[in-house]
C-alpha cells in the first residue's frame, strides 16, 4: 500500500526519464536531502562532523567511485587508497600554487588529475582480467605511495614528509583547518556528494553505464554487440578515479587537514572501500552509501560498547574489534551476498504489498 506505483502515469518523456521515476522514491530523497541540508547543520558538533558525518560522506563518495569501476564495469581494483592520495596531493599542489582558486574548482581539478592517473593504470585492464587485474592494480597502489614519499615536489619539500592544508575560504567562509565551523565543512562536503551522486545515478543508466554493465556481464559478448572495450573500460577507470580523487581531495582538505603518504592512503583504505561496496551492494549507487555508513559507524559503536561500557583495555578491544569486524563481514556475505542495497530492495517489495500477504 505504502509503496504503490499504481496510478502514477507518465505523460511526458521527461517524466519517463526522471532519475527517480516513482513518486515515493522522489519524495523520500527530497525529504532526506532537506533534512540533511536544513536540519542536520544545526546539530553538527566538531565530534559528529569529524568522526561520523565527514568520513561517511567522503568514504561514501570513494565507495561510489569504486562501485562504478567494480560494481558496474566488473574491474576489481585494489588501488583506491592510492588514488585518493593522488586526489589529496593534487589538491595540495593546486591550493598552494594558486591560492585564489575556488575550493570546488580545486576538488574538481583534483578529480580530473586522478582520472588521468587512473586511466593510465587502467590500460592493462584491456589485456588482464579478473584477479590478475586486481593484483596488477596493487602495482598502482604501491608505486603511487612510494612516489608520495620520494617525490619531494609533491609535498613542496616539507621536512616532515606531511602535507598540511593551508587556510582557505569558500565565498568568505573559512573551510579548512581546525578553526573552521564543522557545519560549513559538512555542508560543502554534502553539496559536493549530492551533486556527484546524482550525476552518477544519471550516468549509470545512460550510454556509458550500459556499456560498462555489458562489459561486466560478458566482455566478449559486449564486444560482439559493438561496444568497444577500450573506451568502455577506460571511461569506467576515468570516471571512477574522478570520484575517488574528489573524495581524496575532500578527505585531505575538509576532514583530516594533514596527510602523509602510506599512513593515510595505504592499502588498508583500499580494502576498507572495497568492504563498503561489497557490504553495501555491488552495482548500486545507494549501496555505496549504505556500506560507507555501516563501516564508518561500526568501529565507533564497537569501541564505545567495548571500551566505555564494558571497560576493556584499549589494546584488547582493538584486537577484538578486528575479530568482530571480520566475523561481521563473513556473516554479511553469507546472509546477503548482494549487500544492504538488496535488503532495502526486499523491504520495498514487502512495502508494496503491505498489509496484504500477496
Amino acid at each position: 500500500m505504502l509503496y504503490r506505483e499504481v496510478g502514477q502515469f507518465k505523460t511526458s518523456y521527461a517524466a519517463d526519464q526522471a532519475i527517480f521515476p516513482i513518486a515515493q522514491d522522489r519524495w523520500f530523497v527530497i525529504a532526506l536531502l532537506l533534512v540533511a541540508f536544513l536540519v542536520v547543520p544545526f546539530f553538527v558538533t566538531a565530534y559528529t562532523a569529524n568522526a561520523i558525518l565527514l568520513p561517511f560522506l567522503i568514504f561514501g563518495l570513494a565507495a561510489l567511485g569504486l562501485n562504478i569501476l567494480t560494481g558496474y564495469c566488473g574491474q576489481l581494483s585494489l588501488g583506491t587508497g592510492a588514488f585518493m592520495g593522488v586526489g589529496a596531493y593534487s589538491a595540495f599542489k593546486l591550493m598552494t600554487a594558486m591560492p585564489e582558486l575556488n575550493l570546488v574548482i580545486v576538488f574538481l581539478a583534483s578529480g580530473v588529475i586522478t582520472a588521468g592517473v587512473g586511466m593510465l593504470f587502467g590500460l592493462p585492464s584491456l589485456r588482464i582480467k579478473g584477479f590478475y587485474l586486481a593484483v596488477a592494480t596493487l602495482a598502482a597502489q604501491f608505486f603511487l605511495v612510494w612516489l608520495f614519499y620520494k617525490w619531494g615536489w609533491l609535498r613542496n619539500y616539507s621536512a616532515t614528509g606531511q602535507i598540511t592544508v593551508p587556510p582557505r575560504t569558500f565565498f568568505g567562509v573559512l573551510m579548512t583547518g581546525s578553526s573552521a565551523a564543522p557545519a560549513a565543512k559538512y555542508l560543502l562536503a554534502l553539496a559536493m556528494v549530492t551533486v556527484l551522486a546524482l550525476g552518477a545515478k544519471n550516468l549509470v543508466r545512460g550510454r556509458f553505464g550500459r556499456s560498462w554493465m555489458a562489459m561486466r556481464d560478458m566482455d566478449v559478448a559486449a564486444e560482439l554487440m559493438g561496444i568497444r572495450p577500450l573506451p568502455a573500460k577506460l571511461s569506467a577507470f576515468g570516471v571512477s578515479s574522478f570520484y575517488i580523487g574528489v573524495a581524496g581531495a575532500m578527505m585531505f582538505t575538509l576532514w583530516l587537514g594533514a596527510a602523509e603518504g602510506g599512513d593515510t592512503f595505504g592499502i588498508q583504505n583500499s580494502f576498507l572501500v572495497l568492504f563498503m561496496i561489497i557490504i553495501g551492494g555491488l552495482g548500486t549507487v545507494l549501496g555505496s552509501f549504505l556500506g560507507a555508513a555501516f563501516l564508518v559507524l561500526m568501529p565507533i559503536v564497537l569501541k564505545n560498547t567495548m571500551v566505555d561500557t564494558l571497560g576493556m583495555t584499549a589494546v584488547f578491544a582493538k584486537h577484538l574489534e578486528y575479530v568482530i569486524m571480520g566475523l561481521l563481514i563473513i556473516f554479511f556475505l553469507i546472509l546477503e551476498p548482494h549487500g544492504l542495497a538488496r535488503l532495502w530492495q526486499i523491504t520495498k517489495e514487502k512495502l508494496r504489498l503491505w498489509p496484504f500477504p500477496y
Binding site: 592493462p124 588482464i128 593484483v135 608505486f143 620520494k150 571480520g326 563481514i329
Partner: protein, 309 residues
Amino acid sequence: MLFLAETVISGLLTGVMYSLVALGFVLIFKASGVFNFAQGVMALFAGLTLAGFLTGTIPITHRINSALAMPPWLAITATVFVMIGLAILIERLVLRHLVNQEPIILFMMTLGLAYVLEGAGDLLWGSDVKVLDLGLPSGANDWLLDSFGLYVEQLEIVAAVVAAALVTALAIFFQKTRIGRALRAVADDHQAALSVGISLNTIWAIVWAAAGIVALVAGIMWGAKSGIQFSLSLIALKALPVLILGGFDSVPGAIVGGLIIGVGEKLAEVYFGPLVGGAVENWFAYMLALAFLLVRPEGLFGEKIIRRV
C-alpha cells in the same frame, strides 16, 4: 662479478621464501577457485601458535608457564593439528554456506577471514614480537664463504631445501594418492567431480588444511628469519606478484615466479634503486609481474583462459 653472483643467489633464495607463501595460494585457488587473501595471515597465525606452544604461553592471558613449554617436534605437530582444525572450521562455518557464489564474494570472505585470524592471533598469543627458536642454523655458510668468498645465509639454504621437499611431497600427493586424484578432478571441473561421487566439502577441508600446513612452513621460515610479528602477514603482499607472474593455478609457476621475482627484486634494489632514491622493492615486483602479464595475461604457467559467448 662476485657481488653480482651474491646478489643473484640471495635473490634466488629470497624468491624461494616467496614461493613458499605463493604455494598456499595456488593450492586453494586450484581446488576451489578461491583467491585466498588470508594466506599471509594464516602464516602469521601458524607462527604465533607455534611460538606460543614452544614457550608454553597460556592463551589470552599471555602468561608464560614454562612447565607447558613443548619440545619443537611436539609443538610443530600440535600446530599442524590446530591448522587442520582451523581448515575444518572454515569449511563448516563459511565455505559450505558460500557454495556457488561469485569469486569476488569468496575473495571478500577471505579478507574477512584475514581480519578474524589477525585479531584472534593477537588475542590468543599477544601482539609482541616473538623469537622463534627451533634450532635452525643461521649466519653465513662457512664452506661457501671459505672456498668461493660467497656470503650465503644458512637459513635461506634450509628454506630452499624445505621448499624443494615440500614441492616434491605435494607433487607426489597430487599425482599418486587417491585424495590427490580427487583434488585434481575437483580442480578440473566441480560438477563433473561431484557427479562421480567426490565430496566437495571434504576436498575443500583437505585443501585448506594443506594450505594451512604450507602456511605453517612459511611461518616457520619467515619467523626464523625476522621474528614473528604483524609484518609477517604482509608477506602475502609479496607473494601476490609471484602468483600472477607464475599463474594462479600452477605449482611450478609459483616456484619459477618466486625465483624470477626474487632475483629481479634484488637486482633492482642494488642497481636501479639508488638511481631513483631507493626503497623500490615495494612496487618493483608488481611492475615486473605486470610487464610479464602484458605478454602472457594468464601468467607464465597459468591455464590459458578460453572465452566463449
